[in-house]
């Protein structure tokens, strides 16, 4: 039996795919709203990625590929959550994951940095996803459209609305 630590496919996977794990986790926290759920999403994403690793071409856009898988995991999870939400909500289901705005360690960048992240978390799921992909993760419109499975025009209009909404929220924060 071969030493599993030396599986060459796994080595490539670790080098090319696992390198993006922290990036995915950071984004996932803001997509699903809790660290615990984000960890589940990222874990599932990498298991699926490994399962489909044969279809990934080494050296191509691995990060984009992983993000696309992650958004599908999140969509699937949301579809499940929608069904579950008909069942009376049990606070203990949250496990040790904490809701954003409560215990997530915030940046030392002071009040402004915290305000903008809070504003982002107030956006709709769709607006937040696009803004995060383009402005934080640095994906192009085309890549974001592929990741989200929407037309490029949708990416642009959601992005526009998301940025204006952030501006509005920050202004209200300052004046109110």
């Amino acid at each position: 039996m071969t030493n599993p630590e030396r599986d060459p496919r796994l080595e490539i996977f670790e080098r090319e795919a696992m390198a993006h794990l922290e990036n995915l986790l950071r984004t996932a926290v803001h997509l699903v709203g809790s660290v615990g759920r984000a960890e589940d999403v990222v874990q599932e994403t990498f298991l699926r990625a490994w399962k489909h690793f044969d279809s990934y071409e080494s050296g191509t856009n691995c990060r984009g590929w992983l993000f696309r898988i992650m958004f599908n995991v999140v969509h699937a999870e949301r579809a499940r959550t929608v069904k579950l939400s008909e069942v009376p909500f049990d606070e203990s289901d949250l496990g040790d994951g904490h809701l954003l705005g409560a215990n997530v360690p915030f940046t030392p960048r002071g009040i402004e940095g915290r305000d903008i992240l809070e504003a982002v978390d107030k956006l709709t799921d769709e607006h937040r996803a696009v803004l995060w992909l383009v402005a934080v993760d640095g994906f192009s419109y085309r890549e974001s459209a592929d990741i989200l499975g929407v037309p490029i025009g949708t990416v642009m209009s959601r992005l526009h609305r998301a940025r204006l909404e952030i501006r509005r929220l920050l202004q209200t924060e300052r004046t109110g």
Binding site: M1, P4, E5, D7, R9, L10, F13, E14, M18, L21, E22, L25, R26, V29, H30, E39, V42, Q43, F46, L47, R48, W50, K51, H52, F53, D54, S55, R68, I69, N72, A76, A79, V82, V104, P105, F106, T107, P108, R109, E112, G113, R114, I116, L117, V120, L131, W132, V134, A135, V136, S140, Y141, G149, M156, L159, H160, R163, I166, R167, L170
Partner: protein, 253 residues
Amino acid sequence: MNCDEARGLIQCYLDNELDELNTLDLLKHLEACARCPELLDSLMSQDRLLKQSALAQEVNSGPVRAKVLTLLRAHASQPSRFPFHLTRLRRFVAVASLAAIGVLVWLFGPEFKSFHEKAYAAIVADHADHCSYEETKDARSSRTELDRLVAQYGKLSNTPDLTPFGYDEPHAFVCKIEEIQYLHLIYYRQKGQPLSVFMRLTDASSESLQVALRRRDRFVIASAWKSGAELFVVSSLADQETSDIARAIVARL
């Protein structure tokens, strides 16, 4: 260029998505305009603040990384229990063992059941492969192309319409599953998982108007044979809805 036009381009400029010609025009406008530069500045600093704050946020990826690696190594060390994708080698092994089972079926009729179990497993695996993310870029989806394919693979006069069940127009692949070619239609809908319809022509004379249901992993498979065509519907829906969809398609075979 007037201010409205400039404002329409500012976002693309900010995101590095503006072509050279428009960039030059926009920069010319920004130099001359009293109001537009302020909008660009405010959007730029907003984006910069967002990115810096996001990256400054601490993320502890250690635990999930360790967990993923443990799971992957465990799978890698146990190829026989690896529940995932069939690699090329594993496809070969699967096909070879299928051939072996074929001989067994021929020798020992009762083994027939396990032959089918294999085929169902392969169909479910193909469904998961093609549908777990929207890998439909190289799929065929023009109406005439679809109608031609369903005629060829299922003797249908037109593509099954699942809009009454909330699904959009399908995308089509031709998939080789255990060395047999199927037309694989993938239907998406707004909420929930995609649904697959597999079909092919067979020379089997047996007709099963009954829709048979079985579960595999988290999927339901409805199968039917009619008029020399074989049909499988794979979904994540309830048994009843899956069988209703299969019935609706079979009714038109």
